[in-house]
Each structure stands twice: as C-alpha cells, then as structure tokens.
Amino acid sequence: MSPLAPRLSPALARISRRAWIAVAVIAAVAAALALCGIGFGSTWIDPRRIVEILFGEGTRGERVVVLQLRAPRVAIAILAGGAMAVSGYLLQKVTRNELASPGVLGVIGGAGLGVVIFLALLSDESNALVTSIVWQPVAAMVGASVAIAAVFLLSGQQASSAVRLLLFGIAVGAVAKAATLILMIVGPIYRTTQASRWLAGAVNEINWGEVQVVAIGLAIAMVGVFAVARRLPPTDLDEVSARGIGLNLPVFRILVFALASALTALAVAFAGGVGFIGLMAPHLARLIVGRPVIPGIVASFLLGAIMLVGADLIVRVLFAPTEVPAGTVTAVIGTPYFLYLVLRRGSTNG
C-alpha cells in the first residue's frame, strides 16, 4: 500500500457509495419495467397481481399466461440484454475504443454462424436436434471466439485505430452473415424460419428450459467477469497502467475477449443478434456511475436488461399481434447515436 492510499480512500469510498446508490436506482427501474413486461399483453395484468402469481397464487389461466408465456420472455430479455451490455463494457474497456461493441466487432455474426452450423449439422431428418440444446450456446461461443480472434489477428497493429478495428469487424461479420445465409438454406426448413427470426434479434417463443441454459451459463461467465474486473484499473487499460498493477497484458486481454465472446454467444444463442445494446448500455452506465469498474459492470447489465425488455415492450405495443423483432427498436435508437459518435470530430483516431 502506498502512503497515499489512506488519504485517497475516503474520496474513493464516497465515489463508490454514490455509484452503488445509482446502481440501486437502476435496479429498481429494471424491476418495474420487468413487471410491466409481464403485465402487458392481450390482457393487462396488474403488477401487484403478478407478484402474487409469481409467489404461487392466481387462477390456472393466469398462471399459464404469466409463468409459461410472458415471464420466460421477459427473463430471456433481461439475461440477453444484460449479457450483451457487459460484453460491450468489457470490449470497450480492453480495446480502449468507445465505438466497440459485439455487433461491429463481428462477434454477433460469428455467434450466429456457430448456431446455424450447429443446427445444420446436428438435426436429423425430422428437424429434431440429435443432441441436447445445451450445446447450442457452446456452438455460438465457438463461433463468436473465432470471429473476434479473426478480427484481432487480421487487424494486428491497426487495432489501435478505433475506426479501422471496426471495419475489420464489419468485414468479418459480413462474411459470417453470408455463410450463415447459405447454411440456412442447407439446414432443415423449419429451423430456417426459426433461425431467420432470431438472427434479427427476437425474444418471443422462449421456454423455461432455454432460460435455464442461459441463466446457468451467464452465472458462470459472470463469476469470471467479476474475477477479471477486480484486476481492471478504473482508468484506461494500457501498457503503462497494466505494468503498474503487475498485469500480463496479452494474456489478460485474451481472457477478457474470451469472456466477452462467451457473454455475447449466450445472448445470441437464444435471443438473436440484438444490435447496439452492447454499445449504448456501457456508455450510459459510465455516464451514470462513472469510472468504478464493478458498479459499472452491474449498471451495464441492468441497463442492457432495461433496453431489451423495453425494446420488446415497444414492439409488442406498436405492432401487436405480429411479432416484430425487438432488435428493430434497438437499431432505430442505436443508429443515430452510433452515427453521432462516428461523425463527432476528433473523437477517435482513424
């Protein structure tokens, strides 16, 4: 401990306390929105009634609607939105690039390709999977990792330019998307229509089994994230600050990339490629809670969850009864924001 530490710590503690209060507020908003997400539908269910039903009351009809139809959908939106946001937080931190997100770095495209290869190879004649659905996120993870590895190996030294790195990601993503399209035609028809829906980013038609797979995977990944996050400096992660805290930067970077792809893969495997959450949620989180890393990650998760639950709610309100992918809403909101970041002068090199 340096002699400065005791003098700094009250200030740090104050910052950290303020950050956690902000996180608590965001969590309350997220919970309220989740209840609205469950309540809204062909029939409106009062939030208080939902809480009662969740705790085992209610008629049989209500229980089916809430527990079987609506709750899984909201649950997957929370988990997928949160996972995507944390993935974006990690990628932005480790690339020191405010424009980075799973979408533009080709991670979403790679994960989608992984899932389609998995479905095409391991479905039998009657379109049933010959293996457990548990392997679907694993396939997505392999695809996502290959994609991000390709982006960084190909970009090499150019990775330090924010805009160049993104273009490498976009090119890798485009190749992955085209390969996905071809494989969707090879694959069984039933799976194809399913795949085309989730590639656009949709959270409908989810069952508890799938929620369970995502939840367990996410729990494991988040343990890794927090273990890594404790080592992340609140400042930029560059060579100097890494050496200052005794970090083997290349190894650490690979670890963070692996975690980020795993998180994106979990989200994409069941909710599809919902764009821009991984870009916007971390920005908003840093705006609200500032630099502290752990509160930043928690806030990113909650804000990502809010965004996807909210986006899903919006498409349900605007387009009911048709099921428009929730990714549309995030694209409409995210595009102007991303353009603002790109066009803002002097924001990034390249």
């Binding site: 273009l167 390969a179 048709t322 353009l339």
Partner: protein
Amino acid sequence: MPLASSTTSIRADPRIGHRSLFAGLALLLLGLMYLSLALGYRLYSPEEIWTALTAFDGSETDVVIRDLRLPRALMAPMVGAALGIAGVIVQTLSRNRIASPDTLGLNAGAAFAVVMASGLFGVVSLPGLSLAAAVGALLTSFVVFGLAAAAGGISPLRIVLVGVTFAGLFDSFVNVVLTVNETMLDQLLFWLAGSFADRKLGLALNGLPFVVVGAALAASLARPLDILQTDDSTARGLGVPLGVVRGLAFLAVALLSGAAVAMAGPVMFVGLVVPHAARALVGLGHRLQIAAAAMVGALYTTLADIVARFVIYPREAPVGAVTAIVGGLLLLVLLRRRAA
C-alpha cells in the same frame, strides 16, 4: 512514357491491346453465358439449348432453358455490369478504395425503397419498382454524403462506417415491413437474398433501359471523373463544374444500382470488388476503367451465379451470399494492405 508506366496496369504496354483485351473479355463472357444455360441441377447439351432457343416445342427441357435459365443468363451480366460501373464512380467520387454501393448503404436504401413501394403504396409494375429503387439509392447517397459533409468532411473509413450503419438500419426497417405484412414476405424473401433465380425475362428487359442510360451517363462523365480523382481545387482550377459533375454522377450511380437491386435484390459487394480488377486491367483512366468494370462485373456475377448453383448442390445458394463472402474477404485484404 513515364506517365503510362506509373499507372497500375499489369499489362506490359497499356497503349496496345485494349481492343484484344476487351475482345477476350467478351468471348469469355459469351462462354460463361453459354455455361449459365448449360449447367445447373440438370446439364444440357448444346443441341438441347439450340432447339430450345430456336425451335421451342414446350417440352420440359425447352421450358427450363427458355424460362428459367435464359433470364438469369441475361440478367446476371446486366446486374454485374451495372454494379461494377456504379462501384467505379462511387470509389472515384469519395476517393475511397473501399467505397461501393453496398458499403455506402445505397443498395440497402434501394431495397428498402422497393419494399416500401410495394408494401405501402401498392406499386407492382416493374418500371415503378425500378424507379423506386433508383430514388431510394439516390436519397441514401444524399443522406450519407450530406452527413459526411455536414461533419466537416470525414475520412474514407468513417464514411464507410456511416454507410454500413445506414445499411443495417434499412435492413431492420425491411424486417419490420416484412414481419407486419406476411404475404409480402413470401413474395420478397427470395428477392431480398440477392439472386438471379426465378426471375422472369420481363424483369431483365425492364431493367435494361435503366442500365443503358446509367452506363451512358457514366461514360459521358469519364473526362471530369479523371480530373476529379486528383482533388477538388485542382479540378476547380481545370474548370470542372464540381457540383454538376457530382450530381450527374450520383444520378448515374442511382440508376445503375437501383436497376440492379430492382432486378436481383442486393447482390453484395460486387461494386466493391469489380473496380479493383478493372483498374488492374486498364489503369486509372475512366473511359477504359468504366468499360472494363462493365465487362469484369458481367463476368463476375455470371460466374458467381454458376458457382452458386453448385456450392450446396443439389440446392442452390443465393448468388448474393457467394459474392458477399468473396467481397468480405477482399475487404479484409484491402484493409490489411491499408489500401484505404
């Protein structure tokens, strides 16, 4: 001649042999168009093709050749030529070797306009849809270049980032329209993948005037485009009316990529790949570059269309996916070489 040797032409002497180069390309194209008729799920002999085209008697073979194979053998070269020329112009206008109607979002804008026109305004006529596509491409180019100009001029890389972002936005708009209107989904899904399969001959004939007018306009702009390659102040000093030339060039691009999209849907990255090949063959002069881009583009899409029939044989892949893989890989190579 030091100037001539400094062009990027890969042939020994750039002054002689353009004629034989183009004759060779034309022969190659005819060969590929013949193969486009002959190859596929079923293979046809030259006699079968000849009888189907000259003495149509309604047999299954004749129907397949005349109604399924012939339209795509004619449409693929048209679409390739259109996108190739559009790519040359866009790359010159933005002085950007990774610009193309796709990376600037023009094709996605055209596709969105087609979906809107037929979904919301009930346009069904083929000329109407082609016009909608051209308008969509033109408006998108105004928005993308306008935003870039409003930001005080941005780097070639950033303008591509803006274009790609717009393409993504248009894609999700198309998704919304198609999800809300399911009957349209059936009609348009095959078209949106970018394919020459199942197109009627009328569609090709309908796109022809757009391609011809667009190509003629592009060719007439060859001289000013040569000068525009340098920089704005040089061009102005040489008396090139920048605004007029840019406006007409955008119009040509809109007609060409609009027609291509209306015919085949978004066939990805053709406009990115072809200009590089054209420059390698004939150098930087636009008269030859545009002509070469038309030939190379026609060859490229026709070949890609044949390849698409066999990559996942017996099924057929959308040609747009095949060209997207090739183009995406080339984009990676260009970025690595820092060509942009």
